[in-house]
């Protein structure tokens, strides 16, 4: 490879030239930034400006480009130079638009711009153009675990898109829950009548599809590898094992119904008290005729009890049973009441609900049931007795009185329990105990591994990490199908409670994600959310101390261990968040274009005014996913914030290595503020755990600061959402005021 040649291009458009001394910036880029080529342009992002840069790349062999213009999030199409490494100095959103107007502020404005140019150049010096993972994984087949409505839809969609697909189904037939249904809730206009499940047609399409292979009576005995190179052992009930290699996996393992035997207070376990699945069985047996109970008696009056053992009001209201709403049960009960009404309008059907929730077009379906004469009663059911003459005791919440009702059959609308496999926290605990020699733990692990769905050979456990209530962890809004194991996508009720329509939509989404993963893996790129990123973690193993922090803290289970307990990076599983880089105490993990050095050198490049200047310097490490856009938007709305801050975007707060904090304080920064996403159960962190880990790491830094004679307030961590464009300003200004009160850092002037 030819020698590196560094170039800086400074834009004077958008008013930058009016307020900033571009000549000074050029001089800084040249003298301090050591840029070999320095040019300014009045309109850098227009065709002519971009051509200048392209010409230099082509003719002057420029390999590294620093663009000092607008935010790195702006003009990305104009400033797209895939053959060179690039840094961006944010003079527009970061300086021009946020520093107060007027000559009084000219000096601080120029100082800020000078620093950003220094930082851009310093970063560039440490960057390399990422070449992409040379270990390209080429398998593009897609494995679908679970042959229910979600799984079949995912398989069909993937196969129709031209990807070979393998379905693994535990049962002897395809269809899953849908095989147990007489009809399904309508999914087409006018949303008024129960519809055929459409399962037979779907199964026929699957059977006829040349790209789909089906394994029945099978489960996964082992799953190893990474996106683009998974190897799975498919074990048949008979014991035979088939090996398959696939590129990505869709886990559509669905749910089981909550066991009504756990609801004795609602008559669970008694005769003629059934769950919704039980009623479907009776309806299938009736085959369109009068629905009869198990004892053969024709049902003339039926009561549906909604939220049975759900939403914290399972019968006794003690908060036991399921805490959540399963979403489909109201519409399902409406459908089932119609089974009766359609067959004989004189049958009394009463639905007892506390809140009737019919998402989607369910309101039309609800209305249709009312027209058919189904009675809906807002009530809290207090007792159910089964037997020949069932009785439901309840409190009518509209009439505010206790009452009871007789029925031939009581249907409990119980919830969905996800089949997401083994809970990893429990697994980790048992593994530790087993490693410690506990025989009991060893036996328990054997049982647990049998219950596992995927049987991953990952160091971090055999299944997907679970969220609250046992659903596969994924972000409800931002990335619903992306689980915390790259290349494995959850679809359907395994990730949140839902009905068939939602599950099949989910399946399409998950299939698309799987395709994205295999395509990116085949090109040596990151799958998502940094889709297409060519950088990948590089580790200098000779410096590794085997502390295991990277393997434990990686939110995506990308890092295994070899026999000598060194980390083994599976780049295809990696999402390039840099959490491992932030975790590594000896700093041996880096990316070509993002490393401890690229950020560290920016910190050190800032020109530090002396102790008596009354110009504090505050470093802000801002998550590039939410906090940095929020800061950009503050600039867009011309909201003024302190010109004493220097902002560096980071891939994720999880990638913040504590050495940066130390470096910043040592070089005289008066405060360091980190801005990351919301953490906790309702996290908004794009890398799930990054923000949480950063908060945890920083909580430990206070003692170190005290030892250095610094106030703990000099390092703070904030949770910021992308919509917080006004709040970030308040946070910054308040913090600057706080630092002013604390006084300048005593560390200034030591270097």
């Amino acid at each position: 490879m030819a020698d590196n040649k560094f170039a800086a291009y400074i834009c004077s458009g958008c008013g930058l030239g009016d307020k900033l001394d571009i000549k000074t910036l050029e001089k800084i880029a040249q003298k301090e930034g050591k840029m070999q080529v320095v040019k300014s342009h009045p309109f850098l992002c227009n065709a002519e400006g971009v051509q200048t840069i392209n010409d230099d790349i082509a003719n002057e062999a420029v390999t590294h480009v620093c663009i000092a213009a607008c935010s790195r999030r702006a003009k990305t199409e104009a400033f797209h130079f895939p053959t060179v490494a690039m840094s961006r100095a944010n003079l527009r959103e970061g300086v021009l638009w946020i520093v107060a107007a007027g000559e009084a502020h000219d000096e601080v404005r120029q100082e800020m711009a000078n620093d950003y140019v220094r930082m851009g150049c310093a970063e560039l010096k440490k960057m390399k153009l990422p070449a992409g993972n040379p270990d390209k994984a080429q398998n593009k087949r897609i494995l679908v675990v679970g042959g229910g409505m979600s799984g079949l839809t995912a398989a069909l969609d993937a196969a129709d898109a031209g990807y070979e697909t393998v379905i693994v189904e535990k049962q002897g037939q395809l269809g899953g829950w849908a095989t147990k249904l007489w009809k399904r809730v309508p999914f087409k206009a006018p949303y008024a009548e129960p519809q055929d499940t459409g399962l037979a047609a779907l199964v026929a399409k699957i059977a006829a599809h040349p790209l789909i292979k089906v394994h029945l009576n099978s489960s996964l005995a082992e799953t190893a590898g990474a996106p683009g190179r998974f190897t799975v052992k498919i074990a048949q009930e008979s014991g035979a094992v088939t090996d398959e290699t696939v590129g990505a996996i869709v886990q559509a393992t669905g749910f089981t119904g909550y066991d009504i035997a756990k609801l004795p207070e609602l008559g669970g376990g008694q005769a003629n008290v059934v769950d919704q699945a039980g009623l479907e069985a009776l309806a299938i047996a009736a085959n369109g005729g009068a629905i009869k109970r198990a004892d053969g008696k024709e049902v003339k009056a039926v009561v549906f009890v909604q939220c049975a053992g759900q939403r914290g009001h399972g019968g006794n209201g003690s908060g036991q049973h399921l805490e959540y709403c399963s979403g489909h049960c109201c519409a399902t009960s409406i459908k089932q009441a119609m089974y009766f009404k359609d067959q004989n309008p004189d049958i009394d059907t009463v639905v007892m609900y506390s809140d009737l929730r019919v998402p989607g077009m369910g309101e039309d379906f609800y209305r249709s049931a009312q027209e058919k004469g189904v009675i809906f009663t807002k009530a809290k059911v207090t007792a159910v007795s089964g037997g020949d003459a069932c009785k439901v005791g309840f409190k009518d919440l509209i009439l505010d009185e206790d009452s009871s009702i007789d029925a031939d059959l009581v249907v409990l609308a119980t919830g969905q329990v996800p089949s997401a496999g083994v809970e990893l926290d429990a697994w980790t605990e048992l593994t530790a105990a087993a490693d410690g020699g506990s025989d009991e733990a060893k036996q328990k692990i054997v049982v647990m591994n049998k219950a596992s769905v995927l049987n991953l050979t990952y160091r971090q456990g055999p299944d997907l990490p679970q969220f609250k209530y046992g659903f596969a962890d994924s972000h409800f809004i931002c990335f619903p199908y992306e689980t915390r194991r790259t290349g494995i996508y959850a679809a359907g009720p395994v990730r949140r409670p839902m009905d068939i329509l939602q599950a099949t939509e989910d399946a399409t989404g998950a299939a698309l994600k799987a395709i994205q993963a295999v395509e990116n893996a085949s090109l040596g790129r990151a799958a998502h959310p940094r889709s297409g990123d060519l950088s990948y973690p590089l580790v200098r193993l000779e410096g590794c101390t085997q502390c295991k922090r990277c393997t434990v803290e990686c939110p995506f289970g990308a890092i295994d261990e070899d026999e000598k307990r060194f980390p083994v990076f599976n780049e295809q599983r990696c999402r390039r968040c840099g959490t491992c880089m932030g975790a590594c105490p000896v700093r041996v993990i880096s990316f070509d274009n993002y490393s401890v050095d690229t950020v560290g050198s920016q910190i050190k490049a800032v020109d530090m005014p002396d102790e008596f200047s009354e110009r504090p310097r505050i470093l802000i490490l801002a998550c590039e996913n939410d906090a940095y856009p929020a800061l950009d938007m503050a600039g867009l709305s011309r909201t003024v914030y302190s010109a004493f801050v220097r902002i560096i975007p980071v891939r994720c707060l999880g990638s913040v290595n504590t050495i940066w904090i130390t470096d910043a304080l040592n070089s005289g920064f008066d405060g360091v503020m980190m801005m990351g996403c919301k953490k906790g159960d309702d996290y908004q962190c794009h890398f799930v755990k990054g923000s949480e880990l950063a908060h945890y790491r920083m909580s430990k830094i206070g003692d170190t600061l005290t030892q250095l004679g610094l106030e703990p307030e000099r390092v703070v961590t904030q949770e910021v959402a992308i919509t917080d464009n006004q709040r970030v300003v308040t946070l910054i200004n308040d913090y600057v005021a706080q630092i002013n009160e604390l006084g300048m850092s005593p560390m200034k002037g030591f270097n």
Binding site: A301, D346, D348, V350, L356, Y366, R367, Q370, E371, G373, I375, F376, T377, K378, D396, I398, L399, S403, S404, I405, D406
Partner: protein
């Protein structure tokens, strides 16, 4: 039997707009919108729930429907577009027809008096209607009320807004026989539709 279809069906068949009762989704907007809300024993929301709960005696014996002032707030606001005001009047009428409406309920008494007065001659005789109202609770209270109102009565007399001769029956429609036939036919049709035998 409670929470069964019997009474709901009866309401559907025999009460004006009664078929819409089952479409109520119990949101309570009508109850919250009613300017007389606090003065009713049962809000429309409750009346509808009571119908579904099969509380026939309570619903038809309730005086709540008679409290409706026809302001139409509920109709305007009902998200399910139930003609609530009409259903209230329908229920009141039905309860009255089958003799279950509360005895002596002032609205019911006045409405009956008004109807009887109107259908006699095809015109409302204001003098007899007013006097009838004054004396509905007996001679003594009637005389008391009449005395209390005498200045208004004299004022109306002087302004020629009140003809004392109307007390002897007053004037009526030209074709009174035809009018009575129309009313009788209308009643016959309504009775047939709603299943009244009488």
């Amino acid at each position: 039997m409670s929470y069964q279809n019997n009474f709901l069906k009866e309401v559907e068949e025999r009460v004006e707009e009664g078929h819409m009762v089952k479409m109520c989704m119990q949101c309570g907007v009508c109850a919250g919108s009613c300017p007389f809300g606090p003065d009713w024993e049962h809000s429309p929301q409750k009346i509808f729930m009571m119908i579904r709960a099969g509380k026939r005696e309570e619903v038809l014996g309730s005086d709540s429907m008679f409290m409706c002032t026809s302001c139409y707030n509920c109709i305007v606001r009902c998200p399910r577009e139930l003609p609530i005001t009409h259903i209230m009047h329908g229920l009141a009428n039905y309860a009255h027809r089958i003799g279950m409406a509360p005895k002596g309920q002032p609205t019911r008494v006045f409405a009956t008096m008004f109807w009887n007065n109107l259908t006699k001659k095809g015109r409302v005789n204001e003098l007899t209607l007013t006097l009838g109202l004054y004396f509905k609770d007996g001679l003594v209270s009637g005389i008391k009320t009449a005395f209390g109102m005498q200045s208004i009565g004299l004022g109306m007399l002087l302004a020629k807004r009140l003809n004392p001769m109307e007390i002897f029956g007053g004037h009526g429609l030209k074709d009174l026989k035809g009018f009575h036939a129309i009313v009788a036919k209308a009643k016959e049709i309504e009775d047939r539709k709603k299943g009244f035998t009488a």
